[in-house]
């Protein structure tokens, strides 16, 4: 039983249950339950991840080269993250300790394409309706259709930014969603001059629109500073990858963890032994585990990952426009925006700008057209791949046996790292906005606004498997039994 505030009510049976189900305008399956007492005070608030998919188990026994295309099916929004994290782990298995310049740059291009499209999707298609219309605004227009009607240029730029990122992925991976471009040891394709020229054509427009998006978020902060500063905000430890010189690097680096006040917990840790730093706790009410830093223990060791962490915890961003925006963000409102939960949106748009700039630089690099695609070396039994996915640090870990079959797999996905932090955020919002009030649809949406700030990918988070406490039969349209659930099979 946890002692954390609002996590577990003392007498749940006497309380009224309110459920937000399904969470909408987020990726995947989740719900929030609230337990209210007779005076409408919130006694318990929980974000539940309600699906399970067993990816780590069913890839056991598969040939290792299938893994990068299997595991990306965890997520249709950020398939490239899983594709690349798996390849980075399996590079070690095939002994490719250093990739060819062409292979590494093609992978980076693919990854920045994904950062661009995923961040655009999240901001414009999913979150902007809350920010442009208000958290409690009319449910009928609080969606991308409403944005297209009221702010057609914003909606159009969002759609075209996402399209551009998807096209970068298509040219590097072969398909916009669930491509095959990266393989253990390298890539199976570089760019042709025609493909490069096509992508070069629009990149300056993408950089300009990304800057506009950063400024749009800044304006939103300026218009309602009090709300944006405090909404769902809390002090959190952080975890991210950084490059050896402290720069933001979303493709590769060492692990950096810091306390909320900025003091270092560890820095530049080689991620091949991540389990020495991170462990996971299970709670009965969610299929998603709760990771924590071992050094601090499971009560105090939770932390936050993702754009807000990366932008505020790197020493600098290695592209000029994004770094200038980072410095403005860090200084804004005496640094309070950089500590606020809604600061996630601002940080995300700064990263989108960085991705656009990084794509521009890569598109002017001759190595992209090279033909030396694969590396190899002495075979290893084990590999760990870590990448900064759009939503945060993503860890893939495989053991491969002498028959080339996967013997064991462990995945810690971005959204799982944020499990505890998201629960803290919804409890903050519940306490401040919902407590003691009659709950309306608009008030309940405030909870979802806090969840959306993290851009959770709940599909990614459901790779594990769950329990069946009752017996249920599934019947088809004619009433015949198709399936049944067996009591206590655990």
């Amino acid at each position: 039983m946890s002692t954390l505030p609002l996590e577990t009510a003392a007498h749940p049976g006497q309380l009224r249950r309110v459920v937000i189900e399904p969470l909408s305008r987020v990726e995947g399956h989740g719900k929030v339950t609230l337990l209210m007492d007779e005076d409408d005070h919130v006694q318990q608030a929980r974000l539940h991840i309600v699906e399970f998919r067993a990816f780590e188990k069913f890839i056991q026994g598969r040939p290792y080269w299938e893994v990068p295309v299997m595991v990306q099916r965890l997520c249709g929004i950020c398939p490239v993250s899983h594709h690349l994290a798996a390849c980075k782990a399996l590079d070690q298995v095939v002994g490719a300790t250093t990739l060819t310049p062409t292979a590494e740059k093609i992978r980076r291009l693919m990854h920045y394409g994904q950062i661009l499209q995923s961040h655009a999707l999240h901001f414009f298609h999913l979150s902007s309706p809350d920010l442009l219309f208000g958290f409690g605004s009319d449910v009928a227009r609080r969606n991308i259709v409403g944005v297209a009607a009221a702010h057609p240029e914003v909606a159009r730029q969002g759609v075209l930014l996402r399209k551009y990122g998807q096209e970068v992925i298509r040219h590097t991976a072969g398909k916009r969603i669930h491509g095959t471009g990266s393989v253990p040891g390298g890539v199976n394709k570089s760019l042709t001059a025609a493909e490069r020229d096509e992508l070069q054509k629009d990149i300056y427009q993408m950089i300009a629109w990304s800057r506009d998006a950063v400024r749009l978020v800044r304006q939103l902060f300026e218009q309602d500073l009090e709300t944006y500063r405090c909404f769902g905000s809390f002090e959190a430890r952080t975890l991210s990858l950084v490059r050896a010189d402290g720069a933001m690097d979303l493709y590769h680096g060492g692990l950096r963890a810091r306390h909320a006040d900025g003091r270092t917990i560890f820095d530049h840790v080689e991620y091949g032994h991540y389990w020495e730093q991170i462990s996971e706790e299970v709670k009965a009410w969610s299929y998603m585990k709760f990771p924590y830093l071992r050094a601090l223990g499971h009560e105090d060791g939770w932390y936050r990952v993702g754009p807000l962490t990366r932008v505020t915890r790197c020493d600098f961003i290695p592209t000029p426009l994004a770094d200038r925006e980072r410095r403005e963000f860090m200084a804004f409102d005496d640094g309070r925006a950089a500590r606020s939960t809604l600061g996630f949106h601002w940080a995300r748009m700064i990263e989108m700008l960085h991705a656009a700039e990084a794509i521009k630089d890569l598109l002017h690099d001759a190595d992209l057209l090279g033909s030396d695609l694969m590396a190899s070396g002495p075979r290893q039994a084990r590999g760990v791949g870590v990448i900064e996915a759009p939503r945060g640090t993503l860890i893939h870990h495989y053991r491969v046996d002498e028959n080339d079959q996967v013997a064991r797999a462990n995945l810690i996905v971005s959204t799982t790292h944020n499990n505890h932090a998201m629960n803290v955020a919804i409890r903050e919002v519940a306490r401040k906005y919902l407590d003691g009030r009659k709950l309306t649809e608009g008030l309940l949406n405030h909870i979802e606004v806090a969840v959306r700030a993290f851009d959770p990918c709940l599909s990614c988070a459901t790779h594990a498997i769950g329990k069946m406490p009752l017996e249920v039969q599934l019947v088809d349209a004619e009433g015949a039994v198709v399936d049944s659930l067996v009591r206590g099979s655990a």
């Binding site: 305008r25 399209k163 916009r176 969603i177 585990k289 659930l485």
Partner: protein, 183 residues
Amino acid sequence: MTEVTRRKLRVATTSLAGCFGCHMSLLDIDERLFALLERVEFDRSPLTDIKHCGPCDLGIVEGGICNAENVHVLREFRANCKILVAMGACAVTGGLPAQRNHLDLGQCLQEVYLTDPSVGQGLIPNDPELPLPLDKVHPLHEVVKVDYFIPGCPPPGDAIWKFLTDLIEGRTPKLGHGLIHYD
């Protein structure tokens, strides 16, 4: 013709045991989205905040069936949608999540939540708020009648566009060469 084309088609979409890739592919129609919005309006969908499906002309379902909640949502869609579409490999066949069908659930569960070395303190989630998982992952047509199947992992945006525009124009949807593929 006039009656059908003047009124906007009401469309509900959902993702069950899928990865949202099919919904992303729907968005891969890119700027044609704005033309689509002239002809359709969205009911329940991950893109709106409508939590339950009302009466609709078309229901598009991504993902297979892996738990009790999926079954409830699928039945709600079937009851409310005149036309129900299984979109993508998981809805059509169960897809990659059905790879778990040859595994014993109980054993997996123990391995993931109790004996996995990365877990500090083992415990199997069993809260009543968590929907019951099914023994096996099922394609949609094993549970309800399905009117159309669009294959692909995911189906390309162009295939979804062709399907929707055919329906909107009152034609029988037909995907030609290049629009049907299974990867």
